[in-house]
Symmetry: C2
Subunit: 197 residues, 2 copies
């Protein structure tokens, strides 16, 4: 089966969002503080340092599909119809949202839980990697033994509270190996860990 990776921008104190959905100006600064333009499938263009651009395009190029939770899907209103990374997104949900078909080219809605969502995403990804979102979805994958790698974009800010990368772990401690790579960027350090199985 496809490998399953998760990645997110995280503050040094472990948060992927600050209190009240704050802190994104700091967490995502590295996406927009460089000279290298990386276009997306939306009308947004990343402007990255060379190091971060190479890192990010490397991550994207090996990613065949994505799994996200319904909360994020609703929050971003389905990214206007297509995810910025230009990949099919499997949405884990309790019910298919109104106005959407259960499956089309851009979004597939899975209601049978995280294992079914990842299996569907793996089928779509083929020999590429399944990317899952930080937060609840990554934690569910970790608890289910489905997660292979954690890509942390470590940002030099302390947010104090907010949404942890992995919230309410079912099993802890979880041992990782690595970092297997360290890429220093501008206001970010890209760290890649393997989940020990």
């Amino acid at each position: 089966m496809s490998k399953v990776y998760t990645g997110a921008s995280m503050s040094l104190d472990g948060y992927i969002a600050g209190p009240g959905e704050s802190g994104f100006d700091h967490l995502f600064e590295w996406y927009f503080n460089g000279d290298v333009e990386v276009p997306t499938a939306s009308d947004m263009t990343f402007k990255l340092s060379r190091a971060s651009a190479d890192y990010l395009t490397g991550y994207i190029s090996q990613t065949g599909s994505l799994v996200v939770g319904r909360r994020l899907f609703d929050l971003v209103k389905g990214w206007g119809g297509r995810h910025p990374l230009d990949r099919t997104v499997v949405v884990l949900t309790h019910s298919v949202p109104e106005g959407w078909a259960p499956a089309d080219e851009n979004f597939v809605f899975v209601t049978e839980g995280i294992e079914a969502a990842v299996a569907k995403a793996a089928e779509i990804a083929g020999d590429q990697v399944v990317g899952v979102n930080g937060g609840t979805i990554a934690r569910q994958c970790l608890d289910a033994g489905l997660l292979d790698e954690v890509w942390v974009d470590l940002v030099p800010v302390l947010l104090g509270s907010g949404t942890p990368f992995f919230e309410q772990l079912g099993t802890a401690p979880v041992l990782l190996d690595g970092p297997v790579s360290i890429v220093p960027g501008d206001r970010v350090t890209h760290l890649r860990y393997e989940v020990r199985k």
Copy 2:
């Protein structure tokens, strides 16, 4: 005045201790998984990788004094009379513990708050650095604008909950700069950040 640094082993999810004071076997593994012996003033000898040994002895050699809280002082029973790093320790406390003089060569008890404790430690440190403990003391220094650098020994483990490096920050977000150095060790990555002022 002396620069003020804090350093601690921290899990990737931001904890310097797991739930119920657990996780130290993982957090401190790098102190004992190498071939390079670094003796301490106690009967403990660190056995470090070459990279971690160079990093740690560099940190120790520039440290002139330490500030810790009363809780840690009690927990380790005053390190049997002398801190393992062989430095005078300023203990921030509400009252001088029974059986101790307010000041001797090894421990100085300060009851007038964090600024007085750091000032006393700076006086002792001279042109060297004041090292303060992670947790409450580091957070108090940060809130008071006294902290210059944060040295994080980032350990590839998720503890899920426990004691954060900086707990209940009074002011957030706190911007850091760096890491100004990255030293990969064995089951640890040493990251050094400056506090932006």
